[in-house]
């Protein structure tokens, strides 16, 4: 199984899928930073509140989508040939861990997130829930394969000694 995941064609497909998801996710947020900032506020993790000024959540709302775009764009390029593919996947993986933690936090706090702010920012967005976490875990698995199990140079099976 692990050997199968270490094949270059598998990595190209995973890279394309993850890259498209991240570029797609960045689109609406880049177009409407104010709407995305409001959704970030709803999580009540980065403020604003009595202690945390609006700058923190605003900075996150403004920079996150572009990080998604850069990482996702590199992954799409990585479909053709490897352009920082592992590093871009690692960034996506780290973001997914943050997303899962944030949604889990909101659910634990009983915050009713009608729109998780994952893709769409209007009322059509997905609500935050277990299905969302499951989807994120799937994406996280893909990112983990890309980042942690780089493909072996094309050669026959059995060469278990190739360096990581």
């Amino acid at each position: 199984m692990i050997e199968l995941l270490r094949r270059e064609p598998v990595h190209r497909v995973l890279s394309l899928v993850l890259g498209v998801v991240f570029v797609f996710a960045s689109h609406d947020k880049i177009l409407d930073p104010v709407a995305f900032a409001r959704i970030v506020y709803y999580y009540r993790l980065l403020g604003p509140n009595a202690e945390i000024p609006p700058f923190v959540a605003n900075a996150w709302a403004v920079t996150l989508p572009w990080i998604e775009l850069v990482a996702g764009g590199l992954l799409i390029l990585g479909t053709g040939r490897d352009v920082w593919r592992r590093e871009a996947a690692a960034v996506c993986g780290a973001l997914l861990v943050i997303f899962i933690a944030a949604v889990g936090y909101a659910m634990a706090q009983g915050i009713d997130l009608r729109n998780c702010g994952c893709f769409s920012l209007d009322g059509e967005g997905r609500s935050a829930g277990l299905m969302l976490i499951a989807g994120d875990l799937g994406l996280l698995a893909m990112a983990a394969v890309l980042a942690l199990l780089p493909p072996r140079p094309a050669q026959g099976k059995g060469g278990a000694q190739s360096p990581s």
């Binding site: 409407d32 930073p33 900032a37 506020y41 605003n58 920079t63 996150l64 990482a71 590199l74 590093e87």
Partner: protein
């Protein structure tokens, strides 16, 4: 895997984000609360208390259940999520006032801003309590609980009888300080 590349992806993306926002026609003002709309008047809770004592009418933009659990004394429920119905019942009362104050559950709550905006669209101005109901409670100001019977009846009958004796003291004149 090279950590430098990871740092470049993150920092490059962040820099692009800040630059993109700066040139964005409807970009985010980084130091400002994004819930704020043009025309919002936001007042601190101490100012809200002063206006309450002067007899301002308070509007609770939270859902009905929260309003019943605890609210600023004398406040009427005008939830964002059920705005049209609640507004229809309250409109004459709201139009007769010039001193409206709307609140919800604090910093993470957008409902008061949305209600203020909807009222503004109808030509009615309402100030927004900046830190909302939690700050009111934290300051030790009085609150009241429960569903006033008159409110329930009027609401459940649907059509509000014209000239109904405004149900009870709670929903019309500001209640005497509890």
């Amino acid at each position: 895997m090279k950590p430098l590349r990871i740092a470049l992806i993150v920092l490059g993306g962040a820099a692009a984000g800040l630059a993109g926002n700066a040139v964005h026609p409807t970009g985010l003002e980084l130091g400002r609360n994004a819930f704020l709309r043009q025309g919002d008047e936001v007042i601190p809770v101490a100012e809200a208390k002063v206006r309450h004592e002067r007899g301002a009418l308070f509007l609770d933009a939270r859902g009905r259940m929260f309003w019943e659990m605890a609210r600023i004394p004398g406040s009427v429920n005008l939830p964002d999520e059920d705005f049209d119905r609640a507004f229809a019942a309250l409109e004459p009362q709201l139009r007769a006032r010039f001193d409206l104050v709307v609140y919800c559950s604090g910093y993470g709550c957008e409902a008061s801003h949305k209600v203020a905006e909807r009222l503004r669209d109808k030509g009615i101005h309402a100030a927004i309590v900046e830190e909302g109901f939690p700050a009111w409670q934290d300051a030790g100001y009085p609150t009241e609980q429960g569903a006033p019977i008159g409110f329930w009846r009027r609401d459940e009958l649907g059509a509000s009888p014209a000239g109904a004796p405004s149900g009870n003291a709670t929903s019309s004149a500001p209640a005497p300080p509890a």
